[in-house]
């Protein structure tokens, strides 16, 4: 399944028109963003309704670096975006997750939601950040003297980064650490009695996912050429929840499929049913969530395959979830 998706991804720019390649690049970056949410919710069971905060702050951060410092080198701005996402996730995660007792799902959900909402309001109200209009005309990302502009080159850059992050996440969720995350998701109280430091585990995966969201946010900012408050806010945070729910949380490929499916259907519907497409999309999402609560991926993989194995029961090799 993963190979098929990758092959389609590699071949796509050869058959797409230029404007569709630009659209597909945006979708790839959103896939990266969806992976970050899938790690925290699908794998660790931490309900983050504020994942866009890390996506958006990194986007704003690299936009400011480009605008105010004139630095657009890919070797600086992408690591900077990653570090900004990591730093904000560490701060919010430290506050929400590192108490003496494990935080409730409601507390973390509302805390992350509030963080995302507050970041959106700050961006809208702060003149330095461009207020409601955001920061326009970000110069293109560069490698040496070469400007990386939207089109096939940016597409393959986004695909390459998505592939790298995907493989890294795949390694992580299939490791013994992945088993600890599965324990966290299934019954965090139980694993605390085994000796796991539940809060620390949560803060680690939350921060790691924040770094991925930051990387996605910085790629997005340079691809779009501007950043705006919606990148930080509740709408974007909800959108990524839908991507993952639609595709199938707890599987990496499900997050990718969900993002591609929602964006592709939105694109097609908005071209063909300009007035009512959001309603059709909403009904479609509801139908999938009602009748396929495990997401589209459940059409292909059974529950056992989605959860995967972490060890080596007799007669079986290592096989983790994808």
């Amino acid at each position: 399944m993963e190979i098929v998706v990758l092959a389609i991804g590699v071949l796509l720019p050869l058959v797409l028109k230029d404007y569709l390649t630009v659209y597909a690049t945006r979708v790839l970056i959103l896939c990266l963003f969806a992976l970050s949410f899938d790690l925290v919710w699908g794998y660790a069971g931490i309900m983050s309704f504020g994942q866009a905060m890390f996506f958006g702050t990194a986007g704003y951060g690299v936009a400011l670096i480009a605008r105010d410092l004139g630095v657009t080198s890919i070797l600086i701005v992408l690591p900077a975006g990653l570090l900004i996402g990591l730093a904000f996730a560490l701060m919010l995660g430290g506050f929400l997750l590192l108490g003496r007792h494990p935080s409730s799902v409601i507390f973390v959900s509302l805390g992350t939601l509030t963080g995302s909402y507050a970041a959106d309001r700050v961006a809208r109200g702060w003149y330095y950040l461009g207020g409601q209009n955001g920061i326009p005309s970000i110069p293109p990302m560069s490698l040496g003297s070469y400007d990386i502009t939207e089109g096939p080159v940016y597409y393959y850059l986004a695909l390459g980064i998505l592939l790298l992050v995907y493989l890294l996440c795949r390694f992580l969720v299939r490791s013994q650490f992945g088993l600890a995350l599965a324990g966290l998701r299934e019954n965090e109280q139980r694993i605390a009695f085994f000796g796991y430091q539940v809060q620390r585990l949560k803060a680690i995966i939350f921060s790691f996912a924040g770094a991925i969201a930051g990387l996605a946010g910085s790629l997005y900012a340079f691809h779009e050429g501007f950043v705006w408050p919606n990148m930080l806010g509740v709408v974007m945070s909800t959108q990524v929840v839908l991507y993952v729910l639609f595709g199938g949380s707890g599987t990496l490929i499900g997050a990718v499929i969900g993002t591609v499916a929602i964006e592709a259907v939105s694109f097609w519907l908005s071209n063909n049913y300009q007035d009512i497409w959001p309603i059709i999309l909403g009904v479609l999402l509801l139908l999938v969530i009602l009748f396929r609560p495990a997401g589209l991926i459940s059409l292909i993989l059974g529950e056992r395959e989605r959860v995967g194995n972490f060890g080596r029961p007799p007669g079986e090799g290592d096989r983790g979830s994808s």
Binding site: N187, A192, P314
Partner: protein, 244 residues
């Protein structure tokens, strides 16, 4: 010196005093039964020892160290392990992964990320499943097990990290007579390896495997001693007859 010393434990929930100065002493390699009528405070005492509840007053000392305010994870790392009253295996994971999850709890983060202990722990996981007669189903999801087998899996998980003290809250709850008998057989071999505190309603079961018993009534210790002593205790008989 006792391995576990819980002294003067008081636990108050709102207007209810669940524990009212209860004591519990367990020596190394001792099998200690905790019995009493419903609502006598057995499970609350167990939770205060395991860290699921923090006592309102009193102290819990384990291996000479005061752990009264320690978190469940800290107590587990000190060598204490708990099987909950309500079965809490992880249903979506395989039996093997359930046991591996328990075994790897004290592995360092880098070792978890790079799966450095997976090979080392494999044999121990299989041995534990073998001991509890579950090895043939190692690759099945835990949700596919019968209730009795889930109880065994949970005991295997609690025992896997080789604790100094194993706390079992009603391990035979909901089991058939045959499953109870087998559970008794499965617990016998661990006597050489650790101490055991067991809460159980089945007095025949507890009499067969325990060295000493503590009887609770209304949050306080009614009597404590050998099985023979408790069986002949007039105070204990009176309480059980009163409730019957």
């Amino acid at each position: 010196m006792a391995l576990l010393e819980a002294r003067g434990l008081i636990k108050i929930f709102g207007k209810l005093t669940a524990l009212n100065g209860a004591d519990l002493m367990v020596a190394a390699n001792e099998f200690h039964g905790l019995i009493g009528p419903n609502g006598s405070g057995k499970s609350t005492l167990m939770k205060c020892v395991a860290g699921a509840e923090i006592p309102t007053a009193g102290t819990v000392t384990f291996g000479g160290r005061d752990i009264s305010q320690a978190s469940p994870a800290e107590r587990a790392r000190a060598g204490m392990s708990l099987k909950f009253q309500i079965t809490s295996v992880l249903p979506a994971l395989t039996l093997y992964d359930n046991v591996l999850l328990a075994l790897q709890a004290q592995t360092s983060l880098p070792s978890l990320v790079f799966s450095r202990t997976r090979g080392v722990l494999h044999d121990r996981a299989m041995a534990m499943l073998e001991q509890f007669r579950l090895v043939d189903r190692a690759a099945d999801a835990a949700s596919a097990l019968s209730h009795g087998q889930q109880q065994w899996l949970e005991i295997a998980m609690a025992l896997a990290p080789e604790p100094k003290l194993l706390l079992l809250d009603e391990p035979t709850g909901g089991m058939s007579l045959e499953e109870r008998r087998v559970t008794g057989e499965l617990l016998q071999p661990i006597k050489k390896r650790c101490s055991l505190v067991i809460v159980e309603h089945d007095l025949d079961f507890i009499r067969d495997i325990c060295d000493r018993l503590t009887v609770l009534d209304q949050g306080s210790v009614l009597d404590c001693g050998s099985v023979q002593h408790i069986q002949s205790s007039a105070k204990v008989q009176e309480v059980y007859l009163r409730r019957a």
